[in-house]
Symmetry: C2
Subunit: 391 residues, 2 copies
Amino acid sequence: MSVTFATGFSAAGVAAGISAVAGKKDLALVVNNGPLDAAAGVFTSNRFCAAPVVWSRKAVANGHIKAVILNSGGANACTGEAGYAQSLATAEKVADLLSLSDASDVAVCSTGLIGELLPLDHVLSGAEHAYAALANTAEAGADASHAIMTTDTKPKTVELTGSTGYKIGGMVKGSGMIAPQLATMLCVITTDAVVSAGQLQAALAVATEHSFNRIDVDGCMSTNDTVLLLASGASGIEPDKDEFNELVRQACASLARQIVGDGEGASHDIRITVTGATSEQAALACGRAVAASNLLKCAISGNDPNWGRIVSSLGTVPTDIAPYDSNKVTVDVNGVRICENGGAGRDRSEVDMTGREVHIDIDLNAGDAEATVWTDDLTHEYVHINADYES
Amino acid sequence: MSVTFATGFSAAGVAAGISAVAGKKDLALVVNNGPLDAAAGVFTSNRFCAAPVVWSRKAVANGHIKAVILNSGGANACTGEAGYAQSLATAEKVADLLSLSDASDVAVCSTGLIGELLPLDHVLSGAEHAYAALANTAEAGADASHAIMTTDTKPKTVELTGSTGYKIGGMVKGSGMIAPQLATMLCVITTDAVVSAGQLQAALAVATEHSFNRIDVDGCMSTNDTVLLLASGASGIEPDKDEFNELVRQACASLARQIVGDGEGASHDIRITVTGATSEQAALACGRAVAASNLLKCAISGNDPNWGRIVSSLGTVPTDIAPYDSNKVTVDVNGVRICENGGAGRDRSEVDMTGREVHIDIDLNAGDAEATVWTDDLTHEYVHINADYES
């Protein structure tokens, strides 16, 4: 279903010849048919952000977006003015097809190899093809979610329904180069609820902070991360604000969780929950430090709940950021307390590591705040994907 | 030669039955025979620092150390009061053997698995064995450098001679869990120069900052890092202060470089030099961000000079830490400018990646400061070592 689950949206996904994989769907178009065109966006904080990020950040600034065109097969990052001109030409093409007077009603997203211009003629002819294929069907939404995939092994979508009948749909691509700072990867979320751009932006900011900003596949922040939230108002329903914000949060959390589940080469999804912290920021800093440990991620891929590698990562977090006493820290892996008071607890051979999910629960015993982050293990397959293929 | 290159020192390396590898040399003893016993030390900043670090930091605080006992086969980290008692008992045993009145004249270093106590009876009987084997020969120094190895594939030593005839020798172990903050791994450097503890500490602080603190094998800071610098004064030579500091710096740089050369599973040693920065700190922050990129390290292991992964890592460094204009950045890999003005330069197929060393030169074009860091590539073998073995 993806982005077409919410009424008032049509979508398409086509093979435009941008990707090096012949015949792969590589161009998606999402159109908001209204009556509203409220929109919000969150973007990468990478200083080498891509041309489409520069364009889309400006386009969404006034709170109005009528269409999003997304391509895989090329990031259009580090491509200078020529790359920016490509993003502009792409937006103008879509505006022309949709008879929009202003190209800045069109957001542009790209993903793929950094440093090369796109085959613009393929993008523009693909836009025509996608325009002709636009539909508000489940199949069209699925096509769009396939067209944005790169090293992803499966499409990632979400569908939620509010208590009063409005709907939220979404799609995301992401598998590697995942370590967000403000946002991550290409994501389009749609709703037919009647909401203002201001409310969308507020909901999206909170939702991304607690979802895309709390996953880390490989510690590498992308140049192209974009999360867009579009409202058509087609349901005519004004949602309860708190419920709407919660559903946007759930949609982002589901999509972020799916990214971890499809992390490059991963054999385990790892949930790290830090409790007993003096602040949420302290808990988050500890969780992120553990999630970034290559040694731990290798151990998990070998089914070894190596708590020494967990606490040695915790020990790198400065005291002023996360006050705690190392002699009071406990660590449970999949429910077995293998580290107690900063030292050995139950034998780690008691931990069942056969499942896909690994749950690491760290109690700092220093306060009442907590945070959860998700990451993947580090496998031979991750090295294979990133050493032996060009991406 | 190792630590016995400088006169006034004797050493031994023996198999004490601490390591799980039967017959492996796993206990080293280094004794300063004087006439001086000046010493300096730098230690890990990890908050879960090991018992021997707690002990040795206190022991060296007064500027006097007469002997160092080092074991592989167990880190004695996260072992609480029982672990500290083991370090103390080990120091007391050595003091007893050497007829020293104060156990705090003996530093203790351990490396191996975190979270388990040492087999203390083996350590103590090994200390007797090592004491009996003490010699000031090249072979004895070599034995010591072998006894501290864990996943290291080769011993790492250095020998330097001052212009007036004094000598500096050293040994280090380190291969994985290398990402220093203040110091790294187990290192003992000896000199027969006549220098005070204060001068030793000053020389060591500067030298470690520019050597061990500028290498990063896997981003993981150890709980046990210790660097000790001992002076016997046996040459009777008071060195030129600047020359002595420079030689200590060279000794640390050589040993740090050897750690990178023996990084777990590495197939390439990567030198990252950042020039044109507004400050050395800015250059260092940029170099470290690039050195930490798993995606880049995988690309290098696949002989791909993927500059997109270099600039996307640079782009994560906050502007207030390293001001630069992303449109002015250049990147050379092995002398080929593959990124120019933040975009594509010469074709990356021109880069010869066949050598062990890879040189990445980044010019921020923002100032006159520079810094160099070293790291390794990320290979299947690294994952194998850390996923499939327990360490």
